[in-house]
């Protein structure tokens, strides 16, 4: 997901512009010289300025230097490029967290977490021989830590924990 500076700078500029526009719409607060609109507007302006500098490539030299530095300290095999589809795999963890947010209330913590661990573990290339026991044991232990040690009740759902 390496994007060009022009693109990321553009996104930053749009964000800055939106922040400025939204901020300018906010009502003033009686008795306050600087209302709630000032801070978003200052930040928005700052973001637009930074975005401009980024798009023109100012300061990029520092990055090249830092990258070269890191490269000189890493093992050569790590620098070989991986197939592009691997990049999309990065979306899996946030998606699984979304699954947790949607499903944990109804399914309960144990089934939800077991599914998450199983899927993630397989995505990392684990054999089912490792992934399945892990998916069964890990959520159980985590639940135990939170419920008994930290006294944080996790969603019960279909399988309420204190049996």
């Amino acid at each position: 997901m390496l994007l060009s500076d022009k693109l990321t700078g553009g996104v930053v500029a749009v964000l800055g512009g939106l922040a400025f526009a939204y901020g300018s719409q906010l009502p003033p607060v009686p008795g306050q010289q600087i209302g709630p609109s000032a801070f978003p507007m200052v930040i928005g302006t700052g973001l637009v300025v930074c975005a401009g500098l980024i798009m023109f490539g100012i300061g990029h030299r520092f990055e090249e230097v830092a990258e070269a530095d890191v490269a000189s300290h890493s093992a050569p095999e790590e620098l070989e490029p991986l197939p592009a589809w691997r990049n999309w795999l990065a979306l899996l963890p946030p998606a699984l967290l979304g699954f947790y947010a949607l499903a944990s209330e109804t399914l309960g913590f144990l089934p939800t977490a077991a599914t998450m661990v199983l899927v993630a573990s397989l995505a990392f290339g684990a054999r089912p021989k490792l992934a399945v026991p892990l998916a069964l044991v890990a959520p159980f232990v985590i639940n135990l830590i939170f419920l008994k040690l930290l006294r944080v009740p996790l969603p019960g759902g279909l399988l309420p924990f204190p049996w």
Binding site: A19, Q32, G46, L89, P93, S121
Partner: protein
């Protein structure tokens, strides 16, 4: 002398000892779990302290928080995932040392200098408490504003990246703090009618997202790193004495900066670590080695965050003002146990105060053996397959954020969103640490600026007139102008600063 003996009698009770040992293991475990902060460890202890004697209650809080701050270094060092926010500043450095095969030295530095820093902080608590608290007490919003600005200045120093992108990332962090109604005007901003957004974005889910979840995401897209030789870690403490003698100045500076930051209201261990790491780099003879696995910054920042922990108790004990979030909780426990904060605590309950000092020292001493045990246990996860560790960490990201936010699923969405943001930013050279700094400091900047202007009827003069304020203002402008000056001088001298900044690789990369 009589009170000191009485104090020892208070501490060396069976229940207090059990409380110390149990909370030490508890703190070490929670600190080592990514996403669970020392603050959370303390908060979750409060219900337990209901059932303890006053000294045992205070002992659990002191021990657990100190252990958690140290323990947060372990996953940072081994997996590049800081266990607590206080470790985030030097995680890259410690991880770089691990990559170089120096994991035991890195962990040893964290442990040894944490303990020394903690003891130094305790001494400051004992010796200069009244004096420091007096200074901190004269801090009004004007001083807080400059303090926050100084904190933001650190954002360009902590990252090895383009300063422009660092500032952009920091501004993004500030923008995120605008969300919600916790602003001086009490006006909902960027909430779009959502109750959850009204509450704003808490720093913890954001931190878990950009530091922990993004790391899991990154691991999925990269091939398994070359196995760190799965040998048993060597002696943890070996060579630490040599380092202590080699870097006395860094250590002393780390302790002092940590102590000062701890005393200042609101700024805690995280801030201490950031400032000390940046300071170490700024004053180092070999700044180009920073970020490549160099012990110098690690020593200074590792000492600093633990030193700040003890000194954070100075304003808490004297005036009931929290030095950081941990002492904010501790104040509640003190009241609950009848140890009401105030100078009278030092006179009427002197033996309790001495008992507290003894617990601090004791906690930092037992940190060394307990810490070694924890490191030995934790180092096994380096040998464990990534496909087993990463999924579990991912579940912890969800549950830890969920628990700290008061069982709110919105926090889980936040973690997911910040994971994505952090992943994309990191890939494109925007330092996420700078954004986190913006998120942590944002409210303080706006609050102190707006309220200061109300108090001064719109005049900005008090920002420069008040004595401490003027000193802080001068420091802020110096921090702001220094890189600009260095940069323009370098420009004149044929861009030689860039070479000095980036190290020996720089000449080759020049186009």
């Amino acid at each position: 002398m009589d009170t000191v003996i009485k104090a020892f009698g208070l501490v060396f009770q069976v229940d207090v000892m059990v409380a110390i040992v149990a909370s030490a293991f508890y703190g070490l475990t929670v600190g080592a779990l990514p996403g669970l902060s020392a603050t959370m460890a303390t908060a979750l202890l409060v219900p337990v302290t209901f059932y303890l004697s006053p000294i045992a209650a205070v002992a659990t809080i002191i021990t657990a928080s100190a252990m958690a701050i140290f323990s947060g270094d372990i996953p940072g060092c081994l997996l590049r995932i800081p266990g607590t926010p206080a470790s985030a500043a030097y995680t890259d450095e410690a991880y770089a040392m691990t990559r170089k095969g120096q994991a035991e030295t890195a962990l040893g530095i964290c442990l040894w200098f944490s303990a020394l820093g903690g003891i130094a902080g305790t001494l400051s608590l004992m010796l200069i408490a009244p004096l420091l608290a007096d200074i901190a007490l004269s801090f009004s919003t004007y001083e807080n504003f400059w303090l926050a600005m100084l904190g933001l200045m650190c954002s360009t120093l902590v990252a090895r990246s383009s300063p422009i992108k660092a500032i952009a990332a920091m501004l993004l962090g500030l923008l995120i703090t605008c969300i919600g109604i916790d602003n001086p005007g009490g006006v909902p901003r960027f909430t779009f009618g959502s109750t959850d957004l009204l509450g704003g974005i808490e720093p913890i889910p954001a931190l878990v997202g950009v530091f922990a979840l993004a790391e899991v995401m990154r691991a999925l897209t990269e091939r398994e790193p070359p196995k760190i030789e799965s040998r048993r870690l060597g002696s943890i403490l070996k060579g630490q004495w040599k380092l202590t003698k080699e870097y006395p100045k860094q250590q002393a500076r780390g302790n002092i900066v940590g102590i000062i930051i701890g005393v200042l209201p609101g700024a805690g261990a995280d801030m201490a670590a950031w400032v000390s790491y940046a300071m170490s780099k700024r004053f180092s003879k070999t700044p180009e080695k920073f970020g490549t696995g160099h012990p110098e910054g690690l020593i200074e920042a590792g000492a600093s965050n633990n030193a700040s922990l003890a000194s954070g108790w100075v304003p808490a004990l004297l005036f009931g003002i929290p030095g950081d979030t941990i002492t904010a909780i501790a104040i509640g426990v003190l009241y609950m146990k009848g140890l009401n904060p105030g100078p009278s605590l030092f006179t009427t309950q002197a033996e309790s105060m001495y008992a507290l000092y003894i617990i601090f020292i004791l906690g930092n001493i037992i940190m060394i053996p307990f810490g070694i045990v924890m490191i030995r246990l934790a180092s096994r996860i380096v040998g464990a397959p990534r496909s087993a560790v990463m999924p579990v960490i991912m579940v912890f990201c969800a549950v830890g954020a969920f628990a700290t936010a008061g069982n709110n699923l919105f926090a889980v969405w936040c973690v997911a969103a910040f994971g994505l943001i952090g992943f994309v930013m990191e890939k494109n050279g925007y330092p996420v640490a700078a954004m986190v700094l913006g998120i942590v400091m944002g409210t303080m900047v706006e609050q102190s600026f707006v309220t200061s202007l109300i108090k001064s009827d719109g005049s900005i003069l008090p920002f420069f007139e008040r004595p401490i304020s003027s000193v802080l203002a001068a420091m802020t402008f110096a921090a702001l102008l220094w890189p600009l000056l260095a940069w323009s001088l370098g420009w004149l001298k044929g861009r030689r600063t860039v070479a000095a900044y980036g190290g020996r690789q720089a000449p080759n990369t020049r186009a």
